[in-house]
Each structure stands twice: as C-alpha cells, then as structure tokens.
Symmetry: C2
Subunit: 259 residues, 2 copies
C-alpha cells in the first residue's frame, strides 16, 4: 500500500519522537539502517531525504546524520484548511459568512487566477472563529469551476476544502505572501477588536495538481492568536523575503503576477 521509503520515514520519525534518537544525537549509518530495515541503501536515503526536507535531520559528507529537532506533524491539508488545522490543535472551528456572491473579477483577482478581465469569480468573505473567538477574516475569490460547488456547502459549519475534494477539486500547491497591516475599521468590526491593531496578512494563491489556479485569498489573522513557522536550511529554502508590494511596485512585482 504505502511505499517502503514512506514506511521507513515514518518509523524513523517515531524513533526520533519517542527519544530513541533525541535532538543533538546521531543517527545510525545508512548501511546499518538498510540492514535493520531489510531494504536497499537508496530506499533508506529516500526516507532520510524526507526528514531532511522537514528540517528534522542534517547531514554532512563523512559524518553520520545529526538529529536537529523533533518532527512536526502538520501537513499541507492542515495549512490550507482552517477547519482541519483547528481540530488538529484541539480547538473547535466555526465560521460566519459575511458575503457570498458571483461577480466580475477585480484586476488583481483576474491576474492571480489567470482569468480575463470581467470573467466571473465566486467571492466569499468569512469570519473564522476558534472556540467562539474571531481570529481571522478570509476574503477569497474562487474560480467558477470551484466556486459553483459552494452552493452545496453549509458554509457556517463545514469545511469548504473538504467538500470540494469530495467533488474532485483538489488543492495541491500554494504560494503564500505574508506581511503585516493595521486593522481597518471594517476588519475591527468583523473581528471585534480595536481598529489599528496589528494583523498578520496572508495572501494565498492555490492551484490544482496541474497548476491551474483555484482560489486567491487575502486572509487577516489577529496578531496575538496565530503565527506561522517555517524551517529551512542551506539545501532547502522555500521561504523568500520580498520587498512588499506598494502601489508603484505592484505592477512590476514578480510575486504578485499571476500564473
């Protein structure tokens, strides 16, 4: 069912989590692991490469691998879906729909979603709550193909992404741009906070496995409720620091231009 290397990776993760190989210690050699697991060395290497991508182990030619940290659980689905994420930390997610309409795409939405000007999008504004406390405003434009299915979803209770996956709409890739903004009066009203409070803004473009844009969203998190964490290393650096988009630079910026 699952691939051998995934099984090996899982078992190594567990061994690190349960203290067999605590952070700072060294892993057995690839040769030893291959013997113990009864697989080829390349299969062990494939598994170890995955741990390396997660920042769990570090490796250097000539020396055994070092354990850097205990693995984190979170997966892509939990990052994309507020509901999944909330439940994974033991909180009860809910949502309040402020707006849901089919309308012409704005210039930005059209560019990010790869649409022509005035193509229709489904635009949704939702306030997301954690254990009854508002923590985020989600302003999302869906392409028509995905958005039309929203009429089948109970937006107050259900997870949009979970329901869309049941209908064959799969989110596979995303690009996130993160900066900070002060809460507008409108933000403050929706989140029941003071205007001017610092909010963490995440602009997200998500695509299906083929790279076809499915949604473009601008989410604003209450600064003291949510944070993002990224691990990276010399070998793997998915995080990029950008000059923020300003009215003058927005048009020229590569971060924001679509497709």
């Amino acid at each position: 069912m699952t691939a051998l290397y995934q099984d090996v990776a899982l078992r190594l993760r567990r061994a690190i989590s349960d203290g067999t190989y605590p952070p700072g210690s060294q892993l057995p050699s690839e040769h030893e692991l291959a013997e113990w697991f009864g697989v080829a060395r390349s299969t062990i290497r494939h598994a170890l490469a995955m741990l390396g991508e997660d920042g769990v182990v570090a490796s250097h030619r000539g020396a055994r691998r070092t354990v850097l940290a205990v693995p984190r659980l979170q997966n892509f689905g939990e990052l994309r879906s507020f509901s999944l994420w909330a439940r994974s930390i033991g909180a009860e997610p809910s949502g309040r729909v402020e707006l849901l309409e089919r309308r012409a795409a704005t210039e930005v939405q059209a560019r990010e979603l790869g649409l022509s000007a005035d193509d229709p999008v489904i635009y949704v504004v939702r306030v997301r709550l954690l254990d009854g406390k508002p923590v985020m405003i989600e302003r999302t434009a869906y392409v028509e193909r995905a958005g039309l299915l929203l009429s089948f979803v109970d937006l107050e209770r259900e997870s949009i992404s979970e329901r869309l996956e049941e209908h064959g709409i799969v989110f596979a890739h995303a690009e996130h741009t993160i900066d900070a903004v002060n809460a507008t009066p409108d933000d403050a009203r929706l989140l029941a906070i003071e205007p001017g409070l610092a909010l963490l803004r995440e602009r997200r473009r998500a695509t299906d496995p083929r790279g076809q844009a499915l949604e473009w969203s601008e989410d604003r998190y209450v600064g003291d409720a949510v944070a993002f964490t990224i691990r990276n290393s010399i070998a793997l650096s998915p995080l990029v620091r950008d000059r923020a988009a300003t009215p003058e630079t927005a048009a020229a910026s590569t971060t924001n231009s679509g497709n």
Copy 2:
C-alpha cells in the same frame, strides 16, 4: 566540480525561465531528458525533484510533469543575511548599532540557544536601512562562540554573517516564526514611524550544520516595506500555522514566546 544532477537542474531552470517550457506547459519525459543530457534516468529524477521542492514543477503518475511557475532565485544566504538580500534586489543596505554588549542570557534566550541560565550571550540591537530608509529592527542574541568574533566586524557597514563565515561559523539551518505586532514607542523611535503601526515580527533560531544553536533573533519589519513568500505543496510543506504565544501558552510552547 558541481554534481551532474545540479547541472541538469540548473539547465532545466534556465529552460523554464527563458520560455522554452512556460508555466502551464509540459516537460519532456524523463526518458527523453536522460537521453538528451546523456545521464541515467535517476539523475534526471534527482534534478526534477529539486525543481519540485521549489514549487517549479508538479508531477503525477502516468502523466508528464507540468511547469507551475518560473523559478525564483533567492537562496538561504539571502534569507539569513539582510546585506546579501538587499544587494540582490539592487538596494543599498546599511545598519546602525543601537546596543552591543555581553550579558547573561534571558530565560527565553537560554532556552532557545540551549544554554544554562545566566550563561553569557552577545546581545546586539541594530536598525537596518534600505537605501537610507529604516525598515527593520534586529535584536539578536549570539552564543559566545559566534558573538565574540563580532568585535572584529565593522557593524555599521559589514555583514555579520559574511564575516562569521570567514571565521568558520556557518549558518546552515533556521526556524522562523512569523506574526504581527504593533510598534512600541521604542520601535517607532528607532524606525522613525508612528507608534502602533503594524510590524511583521520574525523570531528566528539559526544553527550550524550540526544543529548547534548560533543565534536567536527577534526582527521587526515595517509592514509596507517587506513581505515573506512561501511556496508549498501536498508533497512538501515546510510552513506551519501555530497558535500564537500568549502569556498562558508561552511556557508550554517550544516554538515561540518573546524576547
């Protein structure tokens, strides 16, 4: 010198950048690429895996790879070093040292750096400027081994990380936690902005190749000057959403809590 697969990856990146394989198009098959480049299929796969990690291509069993986006240039060094990053976007970096002293680690610093209470750290507060405009405050605690070398660095002009690398201190891994805070009066004074303006806060723990902590830093960026971008996918998700540190949760949390 460079590995074959790295050379192949570079050439494929170039082919995507120059429009040979634009976003949305399909790459040739692994078999074809292996023949063209004169290498084994596994070498091609290794190169393509790197492009996949960067979110440049997507792959599915049975179908050819799809180009998702044009590759971004930035590397790990440019993320860690403000100076390198600034020059890479064509701006002139500078810095102003507000404080530099050797002192006992705070509780948080000791925990993040893996020190005992009251072990000494080198604490530096610097304002970083882009083309003369203040955009960031950097409050960094270095472990003694790295920090003592700072006396050899011209902090107003030089890049700390570049000089430390010359002395054998190599930054290899980092974990970043990002949230939003309002500028304190002190922040506002240093950055020449209004108090209360939304700032992007990055707390960063960086280690050497062995996972030994080298620095722990709390940086605050002016919200309209800098943003961070992350790409991820089902297969690779280095980004994690966390509940932010609150006075109650800070003690239990490993990721966060303030300076």
